[in-house]
């Protein structure tokens, strides 16, 4: 089994590197993608970063060709392991210096560098080392043990897919869907029935009270609390009777259970309170 694994390693790694290498070397979006990687900062130029990515892709293609065509020789395996070690170093550097940068690993994903990228680069190192130990060509082994070879290829492909975010759509989302179906909706029960403050603010903002007080209100929601069966929403404002501006607290009070689903005509208490005296300001907002 161990020899089967090492003998098939060149095939697996060769196909993987051929795919990622072709994406980088010939992909149409490589220029845009290079712009998001740490290479731009290192090379100080977007065009050079694109070239670096394309050259890396070409190197991957050459190594892939070596692995697939001359599987029983040591050199392609070692080259692949060195390539993987280079990826690991690059990822480590990028992660440490620019954690928000894109990985550029597979020429498709734009996402930031994740642990999956590290595992994938690690697999290239391990795969390369295994391929260097191959003594028999993969086509000979595959012909000798077709069933075991097929099973190994399926398992290895599944492992690679698990560590490639490009393929999430194919397996991860259906898996999550199935989990919801089997175990039920995780957000289905145990939620409190209390009306969220955001719903009260939403109701307030659709009310006539809000429109009437809008010329006075300056801030967003500053504080909220419940007392005596009312939900209070506190805002800051400026009241300017006759041009003399004075800072006021604008206080709205409404039914804590009301939402726009339960009423479209909420009763809202509106009070302006002078910030310097803490006394209510007598004003008819609807006038």
């Amino acid at each position: 089994m161990a020899s089967l694994t090492t003998d098939l390693a060149p095939l697996l790694l060769g196909v993987l590197l051929a795919a990622t290498g072709a994406g980088k070397a010939f992909g149409r979006r490589v220029a845009g993608q290079a712009a998001g990687t740490v290479l731009v900062r290192v090379l100080n130029d977007g065009r050079r970063a694109t070239r670096a990515l394309r050259v890396t892709g070409a190197v991957e293609l050459v190594v892939a060709a070596g692995l697939l065509a001359a599987p029983a020789t040591v050199l392609p395996g070692i080259a692949a392991a060195v390539l993987g070690a280079g990826f690991l170093g690059y990822l480590g550097y990028a992660r440490a210096t620019a954690p928000e940068s894109s990985c550029g690993c597979t020429a498709r994903a734009d996402g930031p560098i994740t642990w999956r990228a590290f595992v994938r680069a690690g697999l290239v190192v391990v795969g390369g080392a295994a391929a260097a130990g191959a003594r028999t060509a993969w086509w000979t082994q595959a012909a000798r043990h077709p069933v075991a070879s097929l099973a190994l290829l399926v398992v290895a492909t599944a492992v690679l897919a698990a560590f490639s975010s490009d393929l999430d759509q194919l397996w991860l989302v259906p898996l999550r869907r199935t989990r919801l179906r089997v175990f039920g909706h995780p957000l289905g029960t145990g939620r409190d029935e209390e009306v969220p403050v955001a719903a009260s603010v939403e109701l307030l903002e659709r009310s006539l009270a809000w429109v009437a007080a809008a010329p006075v209100v300056r801030s967003g929601l500053i504080d909220h609390w419940e007392a005596d069966g009312w939900r209070f929403l506190q805002f800051a404002g400026v009241h300017e009777p006759g041009g003399a501006a004075r800072p006021v607290t604008v206080l709205f009070a409404l039914d804590p259970r009301a939402t726009k689903d339960t009423t479209d005509r909420p009763a809202v208490r509106v009070t302006l309170i002078d910030d310097r005296t803490d006394e209510p300001v007598p004003v008819d907002l609807l006038a």
């Binding site: 991860l172 989302v173 955001a198 939403e202 903002e205 929601l221 689903d261 479209d264 005509r265 209510p280």
Partner: protein, 202 residues
């Protein structure tokens, strides 16, 4: 939260309000919550709005109640927070919740010295159109364009609205594949988003 004035201030305000408040009924339209940060500017009859200044950038330094904000073009703007400034960071918070490195969007009045006295500040606010790719007890897996994103569900803070309905803390109608609008607070530490509101079917 207890607010910057504490419980005592609340009871003073409560009794003042219950004493002689105007009760207003009926309905109309308007808005000044977190959504307003993204609303298209439109002419207003209110003279206060025409005097408003806006600052959008990252907080580079905090000195007392003054924030040094670097805008995308590298300009430094000073934003002053007062007792009358509302601060939003997933929910209504106090000024102490603002940290260096936070993204900030502020509306206020420009002072003669060039600083902005803020009326309202929104911290790390993001507004994204996403597709739901996974649902767990404490987080949602979302895709935004070609990127994946983790949306955190924060107890008693995350709300949802389905097909134009009122905001609710019941997220059980959420399904994988839903296209949704997420309003939330970005977490610079791990690049995830705390969800304030997820709207589906609007």
């Amino acid at each position: 939260m207890t607010g910057r004035h504490g419980i005592d201030r609340r009871s003073v305000l409560t009794s003042a309000a219950l004493g002689g408040a105007t009760i207003v009924g009926a309905s109309a339209l308007g808005g000044l919550d977190a959504d307003a940060a993204f609303a298209a500017p439109m002419p207003s009859l209110d003279p206060a709005v025409s005097r408003s200044s806006f600052v959008d950038g990252r907080v580079s330094r905090i000195k007392g109640s003054t924030l040094d904000v670097v805008e995308s073009d590298g300009t430094h703007r000073l934003v002053r927070l007062t007792n009358a400034t509302s601060v939003w960071k997933l929910e209504t918070v106090t000024a102490e919740a603002v940290e260096t490195g936070d993204g900030l969007y502020a509306r206020g009045v420009e002072m003669p010295d060039g600083s902005v006295a803020a009326d309202a500040v929104w911290v790390n606010i993001v507004n994204l159109y996403v597709t739901v790719r996974g649902i767990e007890r404490s987080r949602l897996h979302l895709s935004h364009g070609r990127n994946t994103l983790v949306g955190r569900i924060v107890a008693k803070r995350t709300t949802a609205s389905f097909r134009g309905g009122a905001l609710t803390s019941d997220l059980s109608q959420l399904k994988i594949g839903h296209h949704a609008q997420v309003l939330g607070a970005w977490r610079p530490a791990d690049d995830s988003v705390d969800i304030a509101r997820i709207s589906v079917g609007h």
